[in-house]
C-alpha cells in the first residue's frame, strides 16, 4: 500500500496561519514525509485532475512562514497523478469547497484505489442556521459523497461518528468503515513574550476564548457576562481575550462590541492571525480559558488549553465533553447565569481555579500531532 496524501488545503493556504483543518492536513502531511514511499498530490479543480507535488514542494507548503509558497509552480503546470490499485488516498482538507469527491469517486471506480477521509463534523447538516448560505447543500452533498466514496472515515470524535452514522441511518444508507482519529496538540515556545504586543495590559490578567467568531461559537454570551461584570465591579475585572477570525453572520454583534465600554476599556478584546508561538504565549499567560460553543465536532482549543496546563470552562454539548475528558467543568451554553457564576467563582477563588489546574496536570494525557498522524497511518497498515 502506498499512501497518497491530498495536500490541496495546505497548498491553498500556504503562508497562512495553520489553524483548524489546515493544521490537521499539514500535520498528517508532515508525518507522511517521514515515509519514503508516500506521495503527495494536490487537486486541480480546473482540470478535475490530481497533480503530483515533489517532496521539495511539500516542504515549501509546510513552512510556517508568510513568504512560503513563492517558489511553487502553478498547479496547472504540475504533472498529472495516476492512481493505482495499491494507493490509499488520505483526504483531510476541505474537499466540499470544490466538489472534489465527484472526481475522486469517478477515478476510484476506474482505478480501484482506496480512500480515507477525515470527517470533522456534520454541523452544516445538523445546524444549517449557523452556517454560511450555500454551505447547507454543499456540505450535505459532501457527506453523502463521502458515504459513497470512502473506504474508511476518520471521525475526530465519537460524537461526530455518532452524528454521521445517525444521519446516514435516517436515509437508510450504510456507513462505511468508521474509526476515531484523535487530533493532536503540541506546545510551542517557552512563553517568551518577544513579538507579543497584543496581550491585555490588565493587572487582573485575562481569560481567553480561542475560536473563530461566528454565531455557533456563542460569543454574545461572554460579551453579556463581561458587560454585567463591568456593571457590577467596574474596571476591576480581567479582560476577555477572544482569539480568532471574524467569520460570517456576526456583523451586528461586532458593531455592538465596538460600541461597548468593555471593548473601549480593553476589557473585551479580539485578536486574530496569531502564529503558533504567539498563540502559545496567549495560553501560557492566561488565567484560564472558556469554551461556550453551541456545537463542535471536537473542541481542539479545550485540549490545547489543557496542553498548556490551563483550566477551561467548557460547554456540555456535542463533542466537547469528550474533548474535556472529564477534567474541565461543563456548563449549558444557553445558561448565561451559570457561566457568569462559574467565571466569577474562578476570578474570586484562586484556590478553586488551582484545584482544576492541578487536575489538568494530573489527569490530562498529552497527545502530540505526531502521535495523531502516526496513529492514523498505522491504523491503515
Amino acid at each position: 500500500m502506498t499512501l497518497v496524501i491530498d495536500c490541496t488545503t495546505a497548498h491553498r493556504y500556504v503562508g497562512h496561519s495553520a489553524v483548524g483543518i489546515v493544521r490537521v492536513e499539514r500535520e498528517i502531511t508532515r508525518y507522511a514525509l517521514t515515509s519514503t514511499d508516500a506521495v503527495f498530490v494536490v487537486y486541480d479543480h480546473n482540470s478535475r485532475e490530481y497533480k503530483e507535488l515533489t517532496r521539495d514542494m511539500v516542504e515549501e507548503v509546510l513552512k510556517d512562514d508568510k513568504e512560503a509558497g513563492a517558489s511553487l509552480p502553478p498547479v496547472w503546470k504540475l504533472p498529472r497523478f495516476r492512481f493505482r490499485r495499491k494507493h490509499f488516498l488520505i483526504i483531510a482538507g476541505l474537499p466540499w469547497d470544490n466538489n472534489q469527491l465527484s472526481t475522486v469517486y469517478a477515478k476510484k471506480q476506474r482505478r480501484q484505489f482506496k480512500v480515507g477521509i477525515v470527517l470533522y463534523d456534520i454541523i452544516p447538516v445538523v445546524m444549517p442556521e449557523y452556517c454560511v448560505p450555500e454551505m447547507n447543500s454543499k456540505f450535505t452533498r459532501f457527506v453523502l459523497d463521502l458515504a459513497h466514496t470512502a473506504d474508511e472515515v476518520f471521525c475526530i470524535s465519537e460524537h461526530t461518528a455518532r452524528d454521521f452514522k445517525a444521519f446516514l441511518g435516517n436515509l437508510d444508507m450504510d456507513a462505511p468503515k468508521t474509526s476515531i482519529f484523535r487530533l493532536g496538540s503540541d506546545t510551542w515556545g517557552d512563553g517568551d513574550l518577544e513579538g507579543v504586543d497584543f496581550l491585555p495590559e490588565n493587572p487582573n490578567g485575562y481569560i481567553v476564548y480561542v475560536s473563530s467568531i461566528e454565531p455557533r461559537k456563542n460569543h454574545p454570551l461572554l460579551f453579556n457576562v463581561w458587560r454585567e461584570l463591568h456593571d457590577a465591579r467596574g474596571d476591576d475585572i480581567p479582560t476577555l481575550l477572544c482569539v480568532g477570525k471574524q467569520q460570517w453572520n456576526v456583523e451586528n454583534f461586532m458593531v455592538s462590541v465596538q460600541l461597548s465600554d468593555v471593548h473601549r476599556k480593553g476589557l473585551f478584546k479580539t485578536v486574530q492571525n496569531l502564529t503558533d508561538a504567539q498563540l502559545a504565549a496567549v495560553y501560557r499567560n492566561a488565567n484560564f480559558t472558556v469554551y461556550p460553543s453551541l456545537y463542535e465536532g471536537w473542541g481542539l482549543p479545550i485540549v490545547e488549553s489543557m496542553t498548556y496546563g490551563k483550566a477551561a470552562l467548557i460547554s456540555d454539548r456535542s463533542s466537547m465533553p469528550e474533548a474535556g475528558a472529564g477534567i474541565c467543568p461543563m456548563l449549558d451554553p444557553y445558561d448565561h447565569a451559570s457561566w457568569k457564576a462559574a467565571i466569577e467563582n474562578w476570578i474570586d477563588n484562586p484556590a478553586a481555579l488551582s484545584a482544576v489546574e492541578q487536575t489538568v496536570q494530573d489527569k490530562f494525557s498529552f497527545f502530540s500531532w505526531d502521535d495523531a498522524a502516526r496513529t492514523l497511518v498505522e491504523g491503515l497498515e
Binding site: 465527484s102 472526481t103 475522486v104 444549517p128 450535505t140 459523497d145 459513497h148 436515509l171
Partner: protein
C-alpha cells in the same frame, strides 16, 4: 411579445407569426407588469407597461397579478384608455385573447365600438382547474375568493367567445363539458427548429466527468412542487458524480418552498440550481444531459418543455401528465414514464448509471415544430371569418343587393348572392375625403363537378387584377385595398369563364350560376 422568454410568450409569438405569415393583418397589444418588459422591437406590437399605481393595486394581499390584471388596468384611466385606443386603432374583425386576463378591458372596448369582432379565447390551460390546484398547493385565506373570481372570469370569456384555441384535446373537452358551444381548435405547443447552443465548450468542461439530468422550469408553483414530489424518496442513492441541473426561475421557488426538512438533505445536495439562463444555454445543458426530467403532476395545458425535450431526442423521464397532448410519443424507446415517485427516482438512478443512450432523432419529430402544431390556425380563422361574415358585414351597413348593380341575382335563403352573368359588378359608395377603400369579400362557385374555373376580379381604379386564379369548390376570402378617385363610387367587377346550371345536375333550379358572394364589408381609410 417583442422579446419572448417564457413558454406563454413564446406560444403567443408563434401564434402571431403564424397568423401574420398567412396574410392576416395583425396588431398586438400586450401588458407587462414591469419585470421582463423590454421596449417593443416589432412595429405591430404594442407592449404596454403597467404604471406604479396599477402595480401597487396588484401587489395587495389577496390579489393575483394575472387574474386581477384586467380590473387593475381598468382602474388606471391612462392605461385603460391607451389599450382601448390601441384596440380602436386596430379595428380588428377578430379579437384573439391570449389568456383571459384582459377580458375586462376587452369588454370596455366592445361596449364602445360598433364592430362585433369574432372573439377567440386562446387558452393556455383550463384556468379554473389550474387555479384550484394552485390554491390547494398554497392555500391562503383568499383562496376561495380567488377560485371564485377565476371561475367567473373564465366562464364569462367562454360565454362571450365564438371560438377557443386550446393546447390539448383534454382542455378542449373540458370547455365543452362546461357548456362551451363555439368552435374549438387544438393547437399544441411546439418547438423552434433552431437549436443554437451557447457556451458549449465552457459547460462541457464544467460538467465533464459527471452524469447529469436536467430540469427546466419557470417561476410557476407546479413546476417546483412537481419536481419535489417526484424526487421525494430522495437522491441519496445518486453517486457523487451524478446530479440534476435545474435551469430557470423555478430555482428561486425551489429554494424558498423546498429547501428544508428532509428534502434539504435528500434532494437539494444533488441539485445544481443555475437560475434563469438564456435559450442557447438551455440548449447546451440539454445537449450535455443524459436525461431530461419532466416531473409534472398538476396543472393544465401542455408543456412547451415536453415538446422541446421530445424534439431534442434526449432520453426523457416524465410523468403521464407531462405528456398530455403528446400521447403519441409516450411509447418511444427513449421516453420513460413513471408516476410513482419511488419508481421515478429508481429510473433516474438507472438512467444516470447505465451507459448513455444516444440522442435519437425521430423522423417524425417535425410534427413537434410550431409550423406543424399551428398548422390549422390559418384555416380555423378563415373558417370562423366565413362563418360569421354576416355579422361582420352587417356592421358596415353594406347590403349586398344595394351595391350589386349588374349581373347579380337576389340573395337566396342561404344568404348567398349569385352572379347570373359571366360579368357582374359591384358599385361601392365612398365618402368625401377617403383615400382608400378596404374591401373584404368571401366568394365561391357553384361547382358540383369540382372542375376549376377562372375567376378574375378587377377594378377600373387599378391596373392589376385584384384576384385572378382558377378556383375549385373552396370558399375564398379576399382582402383588397382600392384607391378612391375623385370621390366616385368604386367599381369592382367579377368575371368568370362560364356559368353552370344546377338543373344540369338534377336540380329543379334552372338558373345559370357563376360566383356567389357570401359577405362583403368595407372600410375607408
Amino acid at each position: 411579445m417583442s422579446d419572448p422568454f417564457f413558454g406563454g410568450q413564446i406560444r403567443a409569438q408563434h401564434i402571431l407569426q403564424t397568423i401574420s405569415a398567412a396574410g392576416w393583418p395583425t396588431s398586438v397589444i400586450s401588458v407587462f407588469e414591469g419585470q421582463n418588459f423590454s421596449e417593443p422591437t416589432l412595429p405591430e406590437v404594442n407592449d404596454r407597461l403597467i404604471d406604479a399605481e396599477t402595480r401597487a393595486y396588484l401587489m395587495q394581499d389577496g390579489m393575483q397579478p394575472d387574474l386581477d390584471l384586467g380590473d387593475a388596468v381598468l382602474r388606471s384611466a391612462a392605461l385603460r384608455d391607451q389599450i382601448i385606443a390601441d384596440l380602436e386603432h386596430a379595428d380588428s374583425e377578430i379579437l384573439l385573447l391570449e389568456h383571459p386576463w384582459l377580458w375586462a378591458v376587452a369588454k370596455e372596448y366592445l361596449k364602445k365600438t360598433d364592430r362585433q369582432p369574432i372573439i377567440i379565447y386562446s387558452s393556455y390551460n383550463n384556468e379554473m382547474q389550474l387555479c384550484r390546484e394552485l390554491q390547494a398547493l398554497n392555500p391562503t385565506p383568499h383562496s376561495d375568493a380567488v377560485n371564485a373570481r377565476m371561475k367567473t372570469l373564465e366562464m364569462e370569456v367562454l360565454t362571450a367567445a365564438d371560438a377557443v384555441i386550446c393546447v390539448s384535446q383534454e382542455d378542449a373537452d373540458s370547455y365543452v363539458a362546461l357548456g362551451f358551444e363555439g368552435d374549438t381548435l387544438v393547437a399544441p405547443n411546439g418547438v423552434s427548429p433552431m437549436r443554437q447552443m451557447g457556451g458549449l465548450d465552457y459547460w462541457a468542461k464544467e460538467l465533464q466527468g459527471t452524469q447529469c439530468a436536467t430540469f427546466i422550469g419557470s417561476y410557476h408553483l407546479p413546476n417546483a412542487t412537481g419536481l419535489l414530489e417526484m424526487l421525494e424518496p430522495g437522491l441519496q442513492g445518486l453517486k457523487p458524480d451524478m446530479h440534476i441541473n435545474v435551469l430557470g426561475d423555478v430555482c428561486r421557488l425551489l429554494d424558498t418552498i423546498g429547501n428544508h426538512g428532509r428534502a434539504r438533505t435528500t434532494i437539494f445536495p444533488r441539485l445544481s440550481l443555475f437560475g434563469k439562463v438564456d435559450r442557447p444555454t438551455i440548449n447546451t445543458f440539454v445537449e450535455l444531459s443524459r436525461v431530461i426530467l419532466l416531473p409534472i403532476v398538476s396543472g393544465g395545458g401542455t408543456n412547451l418543455k415536453t415538446a422541446e425535450a421530445l424534439y431534442s431526442g434526449k432520453p426523457i423521464l416524465g410523468t403521464t401528465k407531462a405528456f398530455r397532448g403528446f400521447e403519441n410519443f409516450m411509447d418511444r424507446d427513449n421516453v420513460h414514464i413513471c408516476d410513482d415517485p419511488a419508481e421515478y427516482v429508481a429510473t433516474l438512478e438507472q438512467l444516470l448509471t447505465s451507459a448513455p443512450k444516444p440522442t435519437k432523432l425521430e423522423l417524425d419529430r417535425a410534427q413537434l415544430l410550431w409550423s406543424a402544431t399551428m398548422n390549422g390556425l390559418d384555416t380555423f380563422l378563415g373558417f370562423l371569418t366565413a362563418k360569421h361574415i354576416g355579422r361582420l358585414t352587417k356592421d358596415t351597413g353594406i347590403d349586398l343587393t344595394e351595391v350589386a348593380t349588374d349581373g347579380w341575382g337576389t340573395v337566396d335563403g342561404a344568404g348567398l348572392l349569385w352572379s347570373l352573368d359571366v360579368r357582374s359588378v359591384f358599385e361601392m359608395p365612398v365618402s368625401v375625403g377617403s383615400e382608400n377603400l378596404r374591401v373584404r369579400f368571401e366568394f365561391g362557385l357553384f361547382n358540383p363537378t369540382n372542375e376549376k374555373r377562372m375567376i378574375k376580379i378587377t377594378s377600373p381604379n387599378l391596373d392589376e387584377p385584384l384576384f385572378e386564379d382558377h378556383v375549385g369548390s373552396e370558399s375564398n376570402i379576399v382582402d383588397v385595398v382600392i384607391p378612391t378617385l375623385n370621390e366616385q363610387d368604386v367599381t369592382i367587377v367579377f368575371e368568370i369563364d362560364r356559368l353552370v346550371s344546377p338543373s344540369d345536375h338534377g336540380s329543379p333550379d334552372t338558373r345559370h350560376l357563376g360566383t356567389f358572394v357570401r359577405g362583403l364589408r368595407s372600410s375607408e381609410q
